[in-house]
């Protein structure tokens, strides 16, 4: 890979300052960015590690729900969110593999917004709020298509706040090689309605399946989804599955998530 200067600030303010340099890029757990740089598909001149910033780490239950620091590794979320938000903890515990989970972070995953990543489904499905150094962004506004987000130049995610639903579940069907989501569904039942978020399936990245939300808000049971059909238009087609196959998975996994919700 191309060479760069490595800096590791210990505060958000210092990180933002370091990122204002020409060619600077933020590095969180690096589980995606490092391989990308090895392929020379990214070539920052300054790499700003966010892993040394204590104020960006941790899982904490507050009035608005569960707040997770952006630099918190998946393994920590899997453990510490378990008693507050088991579906989210399960999602975090199923990303990558244990070594990846010890490094990869929620902030890094959301900033990258891979169309097959798990966290976007959890965040959108929960209606969470993405907190940055500048503002708070509702999940519905944050995800703007494959690898595209509402983040602006120099803006870094500092944390995410999740409202805690009555019931929720995440069901992931692995792409057999990468073990990213071939398709995965996050279902969350709140007092005022149900949210269903799908990752891995669409060319537009994570999306909400509004018909299912409507049906499930009326009757929260797998059978409520049975009569719905999912269009394969806009679904990803690749070696691992056709658009029609992914459309099928959306429905099957939604039913399974509803059945598994706790």
């Amino acid at each position: 890979m191309h060479n760069f200067d490595f800096v590791k600030p210990s505060s958000i303010a210092d990180a933002v300052k370091a990122l204002s340099k020409e060619g600077a890029q933020a590095l969180s757990g690096g589980q995606t960015l490092t391989p990308t740089m090895k392929q020379r598909l990214a070539a920052p001149t300054v790499l700003v590690s966010l892993t040394g910033i204590d104020e960006m780490k941790g899982v904490c239950l507050g009035e608005d729900g569960l707040s997770i620091g952006a630099a918190t590794p998946h393994a920590v979320v899997a453990k510490e969110a378990a008693k507050h938000y088991p579906a989210l903890a399960m999602l975090a515990g199923g990303i990558g593999d244990p070594a990846v989970r010890n490094r990869g972070t929620i902030g890094g995953s959301l900033a990258n917004n891979d169309p097959a990543a798990c966290y976007p489904a959890g965040v959108l499905g929960s209606g969470a709020t993405v907190v940055t150094n500048r503002r708070k962004i509702a999940a519905d506004d944050y995800f703007q298509g494959m690898f595209t987000t509402a983040l602006e130049e120099g803006e870094i995610i500092t944390g995410v706040t999740f409202p805690i639903p009555e019931k929720a579940a995440y069901v992931k069907f692995n792409q057999p090689a990468s073990r990213f989501a071939l398709t995965a569904v996050f279902v969350a039942k709140f007092k005022d309605g149900v949210r269903v978020a799908v990752t891995g399936a669409s060319n537009d990245g994570v999306f909400r399946w509004s018909e299912a939300e409507k049906a499930l808000s009326g009757h929260f049971a797998a059978s409520a989804v049975e009569g719905l059909s999912v269009s394969s238009d806009g679904m990803i087609g690749d070696l691992h599955g056709t658009p029609a196959y992914r459309a099928n998975l959306v429905k099957v996994l939604t039913k399974r998530a509803v059945a598994a919700a706790q």
Binding site: N3, P35, L47, T51, P98, A99, N102, R103, R179
Partner: protein
């Protein structure tokens, strides 16, 4: 080049690294600890797994500079102080949990991390935990058996020959 200092296998070490120097390169080329292997470029094969402050990480997917000040343990640090094989290593030999040996350092490091977190894992837990370590030789049978045995469970009763 910048100087990094970290603890590796209990010893304080320092070296000059570029920003792009991976932890795996620093260990292998900088310190001559070639037990840590590199088998892929995409953070998936797990041959490079080491412990960073007690947690399993893929050393090919982390920059050496990011490990400054940390405590790193590699396969070379796994033997007992008298040089004999530790419980996990011995179980791999006893149950033929390795063939060509290339993935083995990562397998041992991941298995040790699993047992530290979960001293009596089930077969399914072991298989799930090792999903980030690819072995092409063993079909995993004897690796899983070795980890069961290292945890003090009766591997022979759980896995048919």
């Amino acid at each position: 080049m910048t100087k990094v200092t970290m603890t590796v296998n209990g010893k304080t070490v320092s070296g000059e690294v570029e920003g792009r120097t991976l932890l795996s390169s620093f260990l292998r080329e900088g310190l001559g600890l070639t037990g840590t292997h590199v088998g892929c470029d995409t953070s998936q094969c797990g041959a490079c797994v080491v412990h960073l402050d007690g947690k399993a990480v893929k050393s090919c997917t982390m920059f050496a500079a990011d490990a400054a000040g940390a405590s790193v343990k590699t396969i070379e640090g796994m033997n007992n102080p008298d040089g004999s094989l530790s419980v996990v290593q011995q179980a791999f030999q006893d149950h033929h949990g390795l063939q060509c040996g290339f993935c083995t350092p990562g397998m041992v490091m991941s298995s040790a991390a699993l047992l530290a977190e979960n001293p009596k894992p089930t077969e399914a837990e072991i298989r799930h935990y090792l999903e980030g370590n690819i072995c092409r030789c063993t079909g995993y049978h004897n690796i899983v058996k070795a980890v069961l045995a290292a945890s003090g469970q009766d591997a022979a009763a759980m896995a048919a020959e």
